[in-house]
Subunit: 301 residues, 2 copies
């Protein structure tokens, strides 16, 4: 790639980004011969042909603000996406959220088996870091090491995994809005923030630009999660491609259960307006990042 520029309509730009992500995933997940081929089948099953690739697209668009080659930011974005995919496999396991359906098809542990699903998640995490550390991602090792460190923090015990732990614990307790906010900032927010930060890292952004993108990402991530909770209540499984109304059935506190639908919608909208305002310094180049923000609260899946 890429033919896309800031004037390309968002759907075309996202589709082009997703196709480029798919191609890199297909290459890095090439299956070896032997008994472990099944492992790579499961890794490919859970990673290829899936989703909007929002996270890599954020990396791509943030890096474009600094005129960074797409080849760098795409690989960084693919690493984030691989972490996202591994987390979905593990989250769906019977011992965790016990979800049989993901992106409209059987979850990895249903299509394969639990042991293979656990291992596929583990191997996807490893390959994410392998990609970041490879010189094809960036010629400067300082940049590669910064990417590794950032992704490890965002996805680990003080980030995504910690958020999932809070989520599991919160199912058994009376969680309030501040607990849910903190949980979501870790569980989904940390990785979305790093998607943007990765663009700033490969783009060698100034501190000011990096901070602006982090603020944008924080607001976006929270709005994204509120939109997700709203979808769980208002969407159907057919629309969403996974089971809905699970949160309520599980007696789980969410933004919607705590705030009600109208206030949750209003809060998401305010966060989006705030996110968009963070991008002022980037002018027209940030057109897609603004459009994504609006897309996130209006999506149906």
């Amino acid at each position: 790639m890429s033919e896309a520029n800031a004037l390309t309509p968002l759907p075309e730009a996202m589709a082009e980004g997703a196709a480029a992500v798919e191609q890199i995933l297909d290459e890095v997940l090439a299956a070896p011969q032997g008994h472990e081929a099944r492992l790579f089948e499961a890794m490919r099953y859970a990673s290829l042909d899936g989703g909007k690739r929002l996270r890599p697209f954020l990396t791509l668009e943030c890096a474009r603000l600094f005129d960074t080659p797409d080849s760098y930011s795409l690989r960084a974005g693919v690493a984030v996406e691989l972490i996202h995919c591994y987390s979905l496999i593990h989250d769906d396991l019977p011992a965790m959220d016990d979800d049989d359906l993901r992106r409209g098809k059987p979850s990895c542990h249903i299509a394969f088996d639990e042991a293979t699903a656990i291992l596929a998640g583990d191997a996807l995490q490893a390959i994410a870091f392998e990609i970041l550390a490879d010189s094809a991602t960036h010629p400067d090792a300082e940049v590669r090491a910064a990417l590794v460190k950032g992704l490890a923090i965002a996805s680990g015990g003080n980030g995504m995994v910690g958020g999932q732990m809070i989520d599991l614990a919160a199912e058994h307790s009376d969680a309030d809005v501040s607990t849910i906010t903190r949980m979501q900032r870790l569980k989904t927010g940390a990785l979305i923030s790093f998607s943007c930060e990765a663009g700033a890292i490969v783009g060698r952004a100034s501190d000011e630009a990096r901070q602006a993108l982090l603020h944008y990402a924080n607001d976006l991530g929270l709005a994204f999660q509120i939109a997700d909770d709203l979808l769980d209540v208002l969407g159907t499984a057919e629309d969403v491609g996974k089971a809905t109304q699970k949160d309520e059935a599980a007696g789980k506190a969410t933004f919607v259960s705590l705030l009600g639908v109208p206030e949750a919608q209003e809060r998401a909208q305010l966060l989006i307006e705030q996110a968009i305002a963070r991008l002022d310094m980037f002018g027209e180049k940030a057109a897609h990042l603004r459009a994504i923000a609006n897309f996130v609260v209006k999506r149906r899946t």
Copy 2:
């Protein structure tokens, strides 16, 4: 540390290395406040106060061949150990090897619960890469990126996790010595090899020295596994700190079931002699690495 030199007896040198590893683990696994504290408790439970720390000791001793500061190699070794600890948590899960006992105490999913154990393993993997990417591990980012890439490959789908997948698949098939050898080279060998390679990387070893250490590690890793299979047959749970005679009960092919006890013992001994011969170029500095090789086939736990 460190007071140890090549003349310190192996048990003292290993105990000193293990104490230094323990201290770093204690620091990097400091628990945050909040609902995710339980996650860090599980990570600490599965990582602290456990085992001989063979892998970090290999990194330490290999790096000492090149007069590298222990502070670099210890952190690299701790990252390897964290990967090892995460793999034990996941291997013990009911869907995998279903082991209730590990290092003489309840496995992580027994002491906590399955969901917490899965997440603790995931977070331990992430922190291993975080440590390697941190500038405290080495001032040169090229070295840090090389460590990350090497550990990711050794522990991923083409390494440790791939080996575990072959192991699970082999339980249901007629595995021969060549399949078992390949499986073990991935499942345990890849990480043991990287333990030595990491010492060569932080020590900026010549290609020749690095190759010699890799050959040493390959032979050592296979001998280690044969010794493990022998322990499973000849040891008691009390000696070994985990259930024994599980392989036979599971109808699992091992070096011992395929070769018999005397030939397996002989093969391990030959591998150890070969491993020791690989170290000739390092002279007296490699005294501990030679002693480790002998220790590995004579250990009772």
